[in-house]
């Protein structure tokens, strides 16, 4: 039983990790506080649903279209968001809260508040020795790993990646060094949005969507990112696994109604001990960048 719980927890953590990559990017590089992140994921879920209605494609095949839609959507959002990037955090918070309300209500207007879902072919039960997992969970976990590793490679070795790291470390110095900071902001924002929408597409294989699903997802994404250390991609992955496993363990041993309580408690304890997140020793000054 314990092993099953841990495995289920790790797979759940994979979902959370995928969810938080985009936010980690936007927060780590552009320092953009995005409280509408969960709603971007929601838009991704609805985009997948629309693609399914229009072409009958299941989410795994609809990926390329969702990425395209993500780029378009990210560009649109960026034209407004760019006015707040680099400026006061309060502006960013207010603006993104506004985004959240607008997105939720626009979706409510067009799709009503019914739950929409997309059938998935991989919702089977795979038995590996004594452990049960589902195809969807494995695929999502695999994709989470692949994307995280992919991003890390991209950031370490490509020019754009290096520019992103530079902007993340010191925005003004980057400008002085000739890096096109607004362009980096745009790339990061759109990349973050596309990641959010893709994680939405994957979530559609497992859960139905509705206009206000974003708020719960936002909270999970934020906790994962902060727990792992802002801007620290590997940290977010580890934090997601911790949250996933703690949820399943407490859900089973302590009862279904306190499962979310426990990871909030872990969150608070970690912040008290190490404010920069798990992957930063007690350091109040610099938070490790990407």
């Amino acid at each position: 039983m314990l092993l099953q719980l841990i495995i289920s927890g790790i797979l759940l953590g994979g979902i959370y990790a995928l969810l938080s990559i985009g936010l980690s990017l936007q927060l780590g590089v552009s320092k953009f506080i995005n409280f509408a992140y969960g709603d971007f994921v929601m838009i991704g879920m609805y985009s997948t649903y629309v693609v399914y209605l229009a072409f009958g494609l299941n989410p795994y095949l609809a990926w390329p279209l969702v990425i395209l839609m993500g780029i378009v959507f990210g560009l649109i959002m960026f034209t407004v968001a760019k006015r707040a990037i680099g400026k006061s955090p309060i502006n960013q918070i207010l603006m993104t809260l506004g985004f959240a309300m607008i997105l939720q209500n626009v979706v409510l207007l067009f799709f009503k508040s019914d739950f929409k879902s997309v059938p998935s072919d991989f919702n089977n039960s795979i038995k590996i020795s004594e452990i049960f997992v589902s195809g969807n969970q494995l695929i999502t976990f695999g994709l989470a790993l692949v994307s995280t590793i992919g991003f890390l490679v991209f950031i370490k070795y490509s020019n754009t990646g290096r520019a992103m790291r530079a902007v993340g470390q010191n925005r003004n110095a980057s400008k002085l060094m000739g890096i096109n900071v607004p362009r980096v902001d745009m790339v990061v924002f759109i990349l973050g949005t596309v990641m959010a929408m893709c994680s939405g597409a994957l979530l559609m294989t497992m859960y139905p969507t509705y206009p206000t699903v974003g708020s719960g997802l936002s909270i999970i994404a934020w906790i994962t990112v902060i727990l792992g250390g802002v801007g620290h991609l590997q940290g977010a992955l580890v934090a997601a696994l911790i949250i996933g496993v703690s949820e399943t363990l407490t859900g089973y041993y302590l009862g279904g109604d306190v499962r979310q309580l426990v990871y909030f408690v872990i969150f608070i304890i970690v912040l008290i001990v190490s404010p920069g997140g798990i992957f930063n020793k007690i350091s109040f000054r610099k938070v490790k960048r990407l």
Binding site: D114, Y207, P208, D257, R259
Partner: protein, 439 residues
Amino acid sequence: MKKIMKVLSLLLVLVMMVSACSNGGSSDKATDDSQEVVKDNADDQDAKENLEPIKIGVIQPRSGALAVSGEDSYWGSQIAFDLINERGGIDGRMVEVVSADVPDATAAQNEVNRLIQNEGVKVITGIYGSSMAEVAGNISNRNDVLYWESISVTDRLTSKGYEGVFRIHINGSGFGQQAAEIAAKFSKDIGIAVEDIKVAIICVNNDFGQSVATGVEEFANESGMQIVLNELYDSKSTDTSPMVLQLKNADPDIVIATSYINDGIDLTKQSRILDFNPKLYIGIGSGYGLPAYAEALGDDANGMIDIDASQKPVYDTLDADLAEAVKEFEVRFEEERGYQPPVVGYLTFQAAWVLAYEVIAKAGGTEDYQAMIDAANAIDMQLGSLPTGAGVRFDENGQNERALLVAMQWQEGALETIYPESMATSEPIMIPRPNWSER
């Protein structure tokens, strides 16, 4: 510049004041054009009483997250009152529906007060939403206004001893009890004696879930069923696998689960993934009855039992006039909403009908609070008198003892009624449930 700013600020403040004063939702008048809207009943009461319209407040969440069901519920009442007016009203007096949009408990506070103080309504009926129902019940009771509940099931509404609060639908613990009874009946069909039944109860952690759990527990204890698990869980959980693992560990014959749609779907999915195979799986709550459930699960939804009020009226047991009205209601509802009435539509329709003819008519209007209470307490309608198969007989707390639930089951993407036999549209399938691997 300073002067312009001062003027602008003053304008802004005035605009805010005006909008604050007019805030408070819309007020729809009944669709019958020939009514007179009279504001001041008190002065001309004696002389004009025979012609005065009867104001009835209808509160529903017509905006916000509950809006879809809220609108369905609203139209159940509105169409009922329209039909009543076309049949001559209540003793010749037309019904004037005064509606208010109540999406949450705060709005309930404001709107119910507004209906009572400003609009002068003496009867209010509602509402799809237990937290709002409780607030409405409290305020109505304080102001000697009759509160007539059609849908919400929170136990708390009818447990405070409020004389003027009546609920025609079942309450949470009643839900649990009937569900457990139905479960026992099906178990007998597969050869398990009641005292050998192992039942697992798993419910959402809110008033509804807790009330249902209490009801199931009571029945289980009285009938000798063993409760092997009794857990509440957070309905917002993304992943219900720990709950299903707990269920698997407890190894029950029957599971009685109260869920909302997201967790209901996830519990079923996880049951499949983790290979959890109880002999009977009984669902309560919107989690198991909405079309979204079958859409999300496809064939995996087959065999799931959902207990709720019936949405397929059996016309033969109804009074002829009511049967005709129900058929007309179904036509108009579909014109208005684009689909056939869901359960909440029938619930509000029948509640409005009983309110008009059995309470207001018998009390001679809405002016006499005590007369309405006495009329309500005197109602004695047998089972089968209403479209959902219910009867009406209120206990000392205003709770209807003859509310009826039926067992429905998902069969090939359609929700068929399987119990009681008199209302069944299909034979039950998959009792006991086949193992997932054998499906």
